[in-house]
């Protein structure tokens, strides 16, 4: 029997729920009593069920942001999920009677400041708890307050507290700083004052059909054992953290409530409702039933009309739409979103040129027909002369930008790029949309400097924005198979995070149709949406299917134009916080690109002079500005040219 994969968080307040699983499993495995010391660590353990009948439990601990990912990507069956993450995923089963919540003051989640909250201009948010961030937004909105909110690491959040800047702090820092600042808004207390209901921060959530009733009992037994050890847990944490043992004991026994009774459930339901009303969370209903048979499961029509109205969809909603949504219903809903976001009926396009400065690359992705290994006779690096000619043609044709991307060529150092960028900016003055995350990471490794430093140096040399290429599918199972040597999903996202925080904008892309499942495609969209919640830095999203005509080592996946249109429509519906969706006519062909304008897209991409990567795989579509505008007009829209930030450069006509 394969073990039940359980994932918990290391937080002190979570320990009573999982600690005995770890201790018992260690005892079961070593045949000796578990050591009572030992900090929570990321090492796992196993707990055996009743002899013979129940799969053993395998516990793993991880940071809270990792939990939802592990559950969504089928690396865990049950997780002690923050409730906002659970709503975002959707279709999870709530285990009975166990939660981490508070009825009134919680002490460990608070906004602290030098002034009363209504006098603050800004609040730094510790982004490690999405639930607390959503709660903060709801409580501020209720008070009709709109301070500037910005993300920060826990330490940076505390450090940024100033005269008119407060901070949302969570966990040990919040307990530690309990009396440090004159003003403090305890979020659970404020929630109680508003709703007269407890607030539930986290609970055990299971993937559909993953946990049997018998297994669920093991969690309840673990909780009972954990609660019996609260004094010890408090003592251990006091020793490690330097916080007062009595204060911690009171925290665990009086502030935190581990029950999930009717009142707590009502509190959770209320939070999800308020979050959905504010567009911060997908509509969700907590359920102890298996979600796919639950009576509360909304119909596809309901999902589609919610999405068309701009409500947030959960990951599970997205998967259902992708699997079951009909061609026209998805298209009409995506078209409605497009119309709401862009009511003037204008479709943009950009006149730019894609320049692949080198085809030498060390990654050898199996879907790529463009790259040549180092030392290959067909490898090239474009000379200034050739580049200059290309750039001049762009300027002459009224172009506004260069999209500069290339292979990971170890011979090209960062100074080469800096010189190039300065020269390009000085001589031609074009927008520089350059170097996908993969190339940024490559430079960071090659030079032994941080991603931030690479971006700062390139930005100083003229970089304007970062193209979103190389995202493929941001799920590591897929990336390991199709592009083993490429950066991981979180590395890709981190480059974008850093770039966005520096004020650089970027696009986001997706290449589906290799070995990815509908769940993984939607997970990709959720990851982009999550980062966008944090940074707001993505300007637009483009997707395309894997191009398999020649030269590559992947067999064709599932990639008809019918699917492309459905996929793009689902992306438009999921990515409620990304302004623009572009039709990828370079890969799909201008005809399909045009139809895509009725499936949620409001941008027709580039008038491209050349695009070597796609054309190496057999796709060669080239059309000019006039042909693009005709297609936009025939589809029923006005056309205008744009720059990389989607500003209109011409009067729409």
């Amino acid at each position: 029997m394969s073990p039940l994969r359980v994932i918990g968080v290391e937080y002190l307040n979570a320990r009573p729920l999982w600690e005995s699983m770890r201790a018992e499993s260690m005892r079961a495995e070593s045949g000796a009593p578990a050591s009572s010391g030992g900090a929570a660590s990321t090492s796992g353990g196993r707990i055996s069920g009743a002899p013979g009948s129940i799969a053993p439990i395998e516990l793993r601990l991880a940071p809270p942001s990792e939990l939802a990912r592990a559950l969504a990507e089928d690396e865990a069956d049950v997780g002690l999920l923050p409730v906002a993450a659970a709503a975002t995923m959707g279709e999870l089963r709530l285990l009975r009677n166990m939660a981490i919540g508070a009825r009134g003051k919680v002490r460990s989640v608070a906004i602290v400041a030098e002034r009363p909250i209504h006098e603050l201009d800004a609040i730094a948010l510790d982004l490690s708890s999405r639930t607390s961030v959503v709660l903060t937004r709801l409580l501020l909105a209720r008070r009709k307050l709109a301070p500037k909110l910005f993300g920060a690491s826990p330490a940076a959040a505390v450090a940024s507290i100033g005269d008119r800047t407060g901070a949302l702090i969570i966990g040990d820092p919040a307990l530690d700083l309990e009396d440090r600042y004159p003003h403090r808004l305890d979020l659970a207390e404020d929630w109680f004052e508003w709703t007269q209901l407890p607030f539930v921060f986290a609970a055990w959530f299971a993937r559909p059909d993953a946990v049997s009733r018998e297994q669920e009992d093991l969690f309840r037994i673990a909780k009972q054992k954990g609660l019996a050890r609260v004094d010890q847990i408090a003592a251990e944490h006091a020793a490690r953290s330097g916080l007062s043992e009595a204060s911690l004991r009171a925290y665990l026994t009086e502030s935190i409530r581990y029950d999930l009774g009717d009142e707590e459930l009502a509190g959770l339901q209320r939070f999800w409702q308020e979050g959905a009303k504010a567009g911060l969370l997908p509509a969700a209903t907590p359920s102890f039933e298996e979600p796919r048979v639950a009576s509360s499961r909304p119909s596809l029509d309901t999902l589609l009309s919610r999405a068309a109205d701009g409500e947030r969809l959960s990951g599970a909603d997205g998967v259902r739409l992708l699997r079951e949504g009909s061609f026209f219903e998805l298209g009409l809903a995506a078209d409605a979103v497009r119309r709401r976001k862009h009511p003037k009926g204008v479709v943009t396009y950009i006149v730019d040129r894609n320049v692949n400065y080198t085809n030498v690359c060390t990654t050898s992705c199996r879907f790529c027909a463009f790259y040549r290994p180092v030392g290959h006779p067909e490898g090239y690096v474009l000379s200034r002369e050739v580049l200059g000619q290309k750039l001049k043609e762009v300027v002459d044709a009224g172009g506004v930008q260069i999209l500069l991307q290339g292979g990971l060529n170890p011979d090209l150092r960062i100074e080469w790029y800096e010189d190039l960028f300065r020269w390009m900016k000085k001589e031609y003055g074009l927008g520089l949309h350059a170097l996908s995350p993969e190339e940024i990471i490559h430079l960071s490794r090659l030079e032994g400097i941080s991603v931030r430093r690479v971006l700062e140096r390139l930005n100083a040399a003229g970089l304007d924005s970062v193209p979103g290429g190389g995202a493929e599918i941001l799920v590591d199972r897929v990336r390991r198979k199709i592009a083993k040597t490429k950066c991981t999903s979180s590395e890709w996202l981190d480059v974008m995070r850093v770039a966005h925080h520096m004020g650089l904008r970027s696009s986001a892309t997706m290449m589906y149709g290799t070995i990815d499942t509908p769940e993984e495609r939607v997970q990709h969209l959720v990851k982009i949406r999550d980062l966008q919640d944090e940074t707001g830095g993505f300007t637009a999203f483009f997707c395309w299917d894997y191009q398999h005509e020649s030269g590559t080592h992947l067999a064709p996946g599932d990639n008809g134009t019918h699917l492309y249109l459905r996929m793009q429509a689902v992306a438009r519906l999921m990515l409620d916080n990304v302004d623009h969706v572009g039709a990828s006519w370079v890969t799909q062909g201008p005809a399909v690109g045009q139809v895509a304008l009725r499936f949620g897209a409001d941008d027709f991409g580039s008038v491209m002079f050349e695009e070597n990567v796609v054309s190496s795989a057999g796709t060669t579509f080239r059309i000019g500005a006039e042909a693009i505008e005709k297609r936009i007009h025939d589809a029923g829209f006005k056309a205008t040219r744009r720059n990389v930030r989607y500003d209109w450069l011409t009067e729409p006509a």
Partner: protein, 385 residues
């Protein structure tokens, strides 16, 4: 307006000329498509037809001078003009012994210098090679030309050809029926009335035919609606049309090369409106050679229930600059249809079922790919279902 039309369609009420024009002007393309899809699914469910066919164009010598044509060469001695010997024409079928088509589709230029017996022998020869093969040959325009050139009535021409092996007529040559437009784009071949009369006679003889419409050049939406309604009127009379086939004008290398080709949105809309107006014609064909396979796949949601066949060796659209391949493999057609979430049905020319394929269970995940390690340690991914 759309709502009124929707109600009419759902009540099974016939649409008018004005309804047709309104549908062409309706800004919400998807709403029009969805309505056409309703009609299509009521008629055929998910069933989507294709066949194993073979195109032969035995001559491009042509006395007509249609502005939209990039195929015909006026006279025999001109460069590029070519007429197959009977042996060459037959060989095309003989070469397919291992993968025999169920249909041979012959369309030609109007060649002034061949004896009528050439065509009779052509047909008889195909039947000798494969007595079961269906011969769908010669457009209404060719039949009209034969009648004039060889001094026979339409019926006489059709009877002699049928005796030689002809089974049905393809739908080419309809262009646009409106007399003014037709005069401007193809003044020296069968008129609309003559074209329709050929089909009337053929239907009267119990022969089934198809009918086309060439759109996207100088005609207006009203001309298209008029064209479709003339088809509908004849069909009321004869019930002989099997399929209606809108054909997109392609501008390369012909007398209208300054015009842009119709775009995909126009293609899809034209199919959808055709489906809605033609309540008495069973099948609507998305001819993939004209549309490209990519757009043809989408067209299966805009009213079309047929995607034509494997074709092999199409030269007419090729000459006009289509980006479509000259042929699709049988499996490609099956996949194209399945990816659109439809059930592929191999048919013969008369829409009898040859083979019914399974619908993909989940359209977005119809292909499963497996990671394999090849000898020598090289890894690759292969389709396993």
């Amino acid at each position: 307006m759309l709502e009124t039309i929707r109600q009419k369609v759902r009540r099974g009420e016939r649409l008018t000329f004005d309804d047709g024009v309104a549908l062409f002007h309706e800004p919400d393309l998807l709403a029009v498509g969805q309505l056409a899809n309703e009609v299509r699914e009521k008629l055929h469910g998910d069933r989507t037809y294709f066949n194993r066919n073979m195109r032969v164009e035995v001559t491009n010598v042509c006395v007509a001078s249609c502005l939209f044509c990039s195929f015909a060469k006026l006279e025999e001695h001109m460069p590029g003009a070519h007429t197959m010997t009977l042996e060459e024409a037959w060989k095309a079928l003989e070469d397919r012994k291992d993968d025999p088509p169920t249909e041979v589709h012959v369309v030609n230029g109007l060649h002034p210098g061949l004896p009528f017996s050439y065509y009779e022998e052509l047909l008889a020869g195909y039947k000798r090679i494969d007595p079961k093969v269906h011969l769908k040959c010669f457009t209404g325009v060719e039949i009209h030309f034969f009648a004039q050139h060889y001094k026979m009535t339409y019926r006489e021409v059709l009877e002699r050809l049928r005796a030689a092996g002809l089974d049905s007529l393809p739908g080419g040559g309809a262009e646009i029926f409106d007399e003014d437009v037709r005069k401007r784009i193809s003044h020296d071949k069968a008129t609309a009335d003559e074209y329709l009369e050929v089909h009337r006679v053929a239907h009267g003889m119990g022969m089934r035919t198809n009918v086309t419409m060439l759109y996207g050049h100088i005609e207006t939406f009203a001309h298209r609606v008029d064209h479709i309604l003339r088809v509908r009127a004849l069909q009321d009379e004869t019930k002989g049309f099997q399929a209606f086939i809108p054909l997109a004008f392609h501008p390369d290398g012909n007398g209208m090369k300054n015009l842009p080709a119709p775009t995909a949105v126009d293609d899809l809309r034209t199919l959808a409106v055709s489906r809605l107006l033609l309540d008495n014609v069973d099948h609507l064909k998305a001819y993939w050679v004209s549309l490209t396979p990519d757009v043809a796949q989408i067209a299966l949601r805009f009213g079309a229930d047929d995607i034509d066949g494997t074709i092999v060796h199409e030269t007419i659209y090729k000459a006009a600059g289509t980006s479509s391949p000259g042929a699709l493999r049988y499996d490609d057609l099956v996949r194209l249809i399945r990816e659109a979430g439809r059930t592929p049905i191999e048919r013969d020319t008369l829409y009898n079922v040859v083979r019914e394929h399974e619908k993909a269970s989940a359209p977005e995940a119809s292909m499963k790919v497996k990671d394999r390690v090849r000898p020598g340690g090289k890894r690759s991914l292969e389709v396993v279902s």
